[in-house]
């Protein structure tokens, strides 16, 4: 508890939290404040910002504010879903591998090292491009989650391996606890704050990854995401034409979410993991 209180005294944490809650608020309450309409053309293509349409329109003449809020919601959805998948899968495998050692641990280590050498992005691109239709937002989130979990597994593994040497684990063993009970009751609770930090990072990474693959034209076929807005701007020559409102706000949003999450994570590591303090 003392640690949590200490966290709220760190300016960078408060700043990151405020920024993140701001974007979250925009995603949740935006639809109540603005009239969201992403299907009808409300004006000419690439109308400059002005009264009525604060951020102008896109290449089809759809209101940019509506597009951005819808895209933000989609990006956050992908981020959280992928973050949850990657953290849950990664943590369970990492904790188990770290505790058990042996073959599973070796496989895990090899897998993570492989993923370090082969950029995840390429795997993602290959997977996405092989599924032309049926590439829904959820599916993309699952793919991102399933290709980035090794990262959390690796982060948690070392912690788990050092806990395994503690006598309370030995005591649980001679009390007849099964391996899975030990992982869940004796090891995981000690790692919760750590797992939460890993989750934040995974979420931030997932949001950036979605933006990247969508921008390459491999995004969801049926929804609007921030990455897809950027892709539309790119393919419809907004950059060359100097139509900044078609891509700058989306870029800012992606950056702000990822940045705020990274700031929160760094501040938390400083508090929960004093050993990382320089």
């Amino acid at each position: 508890m003392e640690l949590v209180k200490g966290l709220f005294k760190i300016p960078s944490f408060l700043f990151g939290l405020a920024l993140f809650l701001g974007t979250l608020g925009l995603a949740f309450f935006g639809p109540l404040l603005w009239h969201i309409d992403v299907v009808s053309r409300v004006g000419d293509p690439y109308m400059a910002p002005g009264a009525g349409h604060w951020l102008g329109t896109d290449h089809l003449g759809v209101d940019m504010v509506s597009m951005l809020i819808t895209g933000l919601r989609a990006s956050l959805y992908v981020g959280f879903l992928a973050g949850v998948v990657a953290t849950v899968v990664g943590t369970l495998i990492g904790v188990y591998g770290g505790y058990k050692g042996g073959l599973l641990d070796d496989i895990l280590t090899v897998a993570t090292n492989l993923f370090l050498v082969i950029p995840t992005l390429i795997v993602l691109i290959l997977l996405s491009s092989s599924m032309e239709k049926g590439r829904s937002l959820t599916l993309i989130a699952l793919i991102i989650g399933c290709t980035t979990w090794t990262w959390s597994a690796r982060a948690v593994r070392a912690q788990s391996a050092s806990l395994r040497a503690r006598d309370h684990v030995a005591l649980a063993r001679i009390n007849g606890y099964s391996t899975i009970e030990i992982v869940l009751e004796q090891i995981l609770p000690y790692l919760l704050s750590y797992v939460f930090m890993v989750f934040i990072l995974q979420t931030a990474t997932a949001i950036l990854t979605e933006a990247t693959i969508s921008m390459l034209g491999l995004g969801p076929y049926d929804s609007i995401s921030l990455g897809k807005i950027l892709n539309d701007a790119r393919t419809n020559e907004a950059l060359i034409g100097g139509k900044w409102w078609a891509f700058i706000p989306a870029m800012v949003l992606v950056t702000v979410i990822a940045f705020s999450l990274y700031v929160i994570n760094t501040a938390m590591e400083g508090v929960f993991n004093p050993r990382l303090r320089k």
């Binding site: 003392e2 070392a158 050092s162 040497a165 050993r275 303090r277």
Partner: protein, 356 residues
Amino acid sequence: MTAPALPVQAPVPGPAPKPAAGKVVLEVEDLRVHYLTRFGAKIQAVDGVTFSLKQGEILGIAGESGCGKTTLVSGCMGLYIPPLYHTSGDVRIDGQSIVGMTPEQNRKEVLGRKIAMIPQGALNSLNPTRKIKDMATDMILSHDESADKKTINDRLRERFSRIGLDAQKVLNSYPVELPAGTKQRCVIGISTLLNPKVVVADEPTSALDVSTQKSVIRLLFELMNQEIISSMLFITHELPLLRHVSSSIAVMYAGEFVEYGSTEQVIFDGRQPYSRALMGSMLSTEPGQKSRKPVAIEGAPPKLDKPIPGCRFAERCPVAQPDCRSTDQVLRVVGGRQVRCKYADTDLVKQVGGTV
């Protein structure tokens, strides 16, 4: 046993640095400290302790587990972090009171600088993922943020070689790579980096074998002889060890001092049943000791969540009298030391233990 046993009451000259009858460094006055539990119970773990520590003095504090030794030392450091609270009384270092300080202020001005602690169980709680060097650097940085890397490194190297460690090697090791004795020497080295006046060592040797224990205590003496530190509080549950370490001894029971006097008085001529029992239950390897029955004190120490009427030890005292449970005991001077026992000056207490 190879060495001949010396006659009782004629102890050899103490090996500890001679107490320079110098000025008082640490003064603790009627200190009371309590824990507040989650259920709102108030556990009075230290209940009215008074003592003072002179320059060059080592005070040994012995007592049963849970009698409040660790709590007393946290209280002496002035570091009150919930659930630990200061009830009343005062702690002064060099005349300056430290009980009213906020934890931040205390960490900045007092901890490590005026009074340093070697925590109980430190050996096993060192962070396994950090090198000794990093932990030591933290210690310096916590008080001098502007120190640059080179000065810090030079300072660490100088100090670690001075306390007889292979500085280069040890500083770059992880705790798990070092044997227990070396680890404990490192802990001591790190906590005394800033030349604190008083060092509080909380059971620094209870996890160590006798040879390693000896080397660790030697190191503590060296620190005093080199005037890196000036006085020490030595906490242990092993009264006999204090014979060689401290110049005076306080025996604690249920949050209070029950006997407080010079080492010779308490060890060879205790006047309180509990401190006598502590000596009487010593297990030694002298021939014939195997058949001797050590004094076992059954029963549990009292719970400290409500005031306890009468003598706190009466419940378990082998020679308790009917009136012991009804009359509160105060520390009074008997035979040149302070004792908390109604029958301290009678032969009754001598029935307990006494096989030293």
